[in-house]
């Protein structure tokens, strides 16, 4: 069992996404241990990209700001290596394929392993295109977490269930990342449909921004993923107190 799937064993998993270097590197280094202290089980470190087409305005802006701050895949690896000394929860990179491809797939996977990163999520890389990186990741002992969406057919579910390692990322609704007031009513049937085929833990992301939503979704999933709302709170409160409070509330809602 991998470090990532292990994280789902003890309780409903709380997975937090942040963009590396938003609003600056120093904040990232403070924020991640704080997220762990307040109940996060897995941290997703976002590698910024110039064209994040699966993301809504919050993560787009954070990526833009991080790129302005000079954040590169190399910097993200260095940040992960520093965080490895400060936290004990697994780290996952989330990034678009081009910067990773450009870095070199084998080199990237090896460096991830050295930096203490346990796997990655690449939103524009479905399993049909992932053979090369899958080989490099397997060699380096890393998980690749694939995504499924409500539009996914049974055939796609079978494919992702065969390829995804660590957990499967279930996109809650048709759309991009970002906080939404209303999540689809039939979310549970989507998760249950995947559950019939997949043995991996199932975590739901996209649009989750309140403890109430988290609690409802955790009734039928193994974990929830929150991103945009965290970045919004970081932006409005550099002391990070609001983020800490929010994460504690999410934790309570899941336990």
């Amino acid at each position: 069992m991998s470090r990532i799937s292990d994280a789902f064993q003890k309780r409903k998993s709380l997975i937090a996404y942040i963009t590396v270097g938003y609003p600056d590197i120093e904040t990232t280094l403070r924020l991640v241990p704080l997220l762990e202290e307040n109940g996060v089980d897995i941290i997703e470190l976002g590698i910024p990209f110039s064209d994040p087409l699966a993301d809504g305005v919050t993560i787009q802006n954070a990526s833009y700001q991080a790129l302005q701050n000079g954040v590169t895949p190399e910097v993200c690896l260095s940040v992960a290596a520093l965080l490895k000394e400060k936290i004990s929860i697994p780290m996952v990179f989330m990034g678009y394929y081009n910067p990773i491809y450009n870095y070199g797939l084998t080199k990237f996977c090896q460096k991830c392993a050295t930096a203490g990163v346990s796997g990655f999520i690449i939103p524009d890389l479905p399993p049909g295109e992932a053979q090369d990186i899958d080989f490099a990741a397997t060699e380096a002992g890393l998980d690749i977490i694939f995504l499924l969406a409500p539009t996914s057919t049974d055939e796609r579910i079978k494919l992702v269930a065969a390829k995804s390692r660590g957990f499967i990322y279930l996109v809650s609704h048709s759309g991009v990342t970002g906080a939404t007031a209303n999540l689809p009513a039939d979310l549970s049937s989507f998760v249950n449909r995947v559950r019939k085929t997949a043995r991996q833990p199932l975590a739901v992301g996209f649009g989750i921004s309140t403890p109430e939503q988290a609690q409802n979704i955790a009734k039928f999933s193994d974990g929830i993923i929150v991103g945009s709302r965290i970045l919004q709170l970081v932006q409005t409160d550099p002391s990070l107190e609001k983020v800490a409070t929010f994460i504690r509330q999410l934790r309570q809602s899941l336990d």
């Binding site: 064209d51 833009y64 491809y101 450009n102 870095y103 049909g128 996109v171 759309g175």
Partner: protein, 399 residues
Amino acid sequence: MPKVDSTGKPGYFGKYGGQFVPEILVPVLNELEQAYEQAKKDETFQSRLKSLSNTFSGRPTPLYLAERLTEHLGGARIYLKREDLAHTGAHKINNALGQGLLALHMGKKRVIAETGAGQHGVATAAVCAMLGLECIVYMGEDDIKRQALNVFRMKLMGTEVRSVSSGSRTLKDAINEAMRDWVSNPETTYYIIGSVVGPRPYPAMVRDFQAVIGQETKAQSLRQLGGLPDCIVACVGGGSNAMGIFYDFIPDQSVRLIGVEAAGSGISTGKHSATLSAGKVGILHGAMSYLLQDEHGQVIETHSISAGLDYPGVGPEHSYLKDNKRVEYVSVTDEEALNGFKLLCSLEGIMPALESSHAIAHALKIAVGMPKNKNIVINLSGRGDKDMDIVQKAMGVKI
């Protein structure tokens, strides 16, 4: 050389192409691919496409001998494939009509599109008006300013033009926004991509809808020139007009095929859009192809006087044709394109789009060194009315 576009893996041209998209779009793309494969064999679909190509789009477009330009240069004879005479003023109508009919065929009532220069947006707006489809076009804020006339044309035809203010505020960002719309509305919406870019099946499908340009050019050449042309020159941004005219000639090794990219202020200045000349392999907008990117894999901002060429990527089939050397890819600067523009206006009474002016500028360079009995065909992909403001400013002329 056969017109083989794949080395076995569906949607690939050599190592280029693919379907690098969020999972939510994979089933939608598969549905589109099946619908397109079915439409290719559907006689009703094909006969309606043919009929509307003739009566709505105005096909076939003529192959015109530019006598005064030929005389002025004193070299090879220059012919123009007059896509500027197609309805809405550019080759873009061929693809918009094909995909508009496909949207209807698939029962989708809402169409989205992206546009740079506005020509694809105008063509899509026209087709949607004619077919009774709702139409939303994404366009970069900067392109909205420099192509105001086309924005007005789209609105007159009932299309909603949505301004995109993220990133470089040009075509690349308009595509990002259109894709965000599509992942948000995958079941109701048809996305008419405007060039031979994007995930499978778009590059091959758009090429097929544009291949009529080359098919006509071949038949017209045999009739008017008594044989195949010696050289075909076309501009390349995403590359749809070029793929359209090249495709039927790929097996004809005697025909030299040249794609012309935008060198902007000059490749050495870094302010250009010459993807195949100066880019390296990467992944953007659903496909692996050549890409303008920095050393960290971030897509860089491009520059061209022509909004339609101002794009950091290129169709994957062009990348394949570059690597196997069937097509030569070159670039010309803004200034050279403007000179080509002015020469065609003054000698032939034809005002080309700034995109097409790049092809003209390169043809001018090579024609002088070629014997008089040789024939060059330039794909005049669109007309230049939309570019009047830009040309006026570049020439320092006030009206």
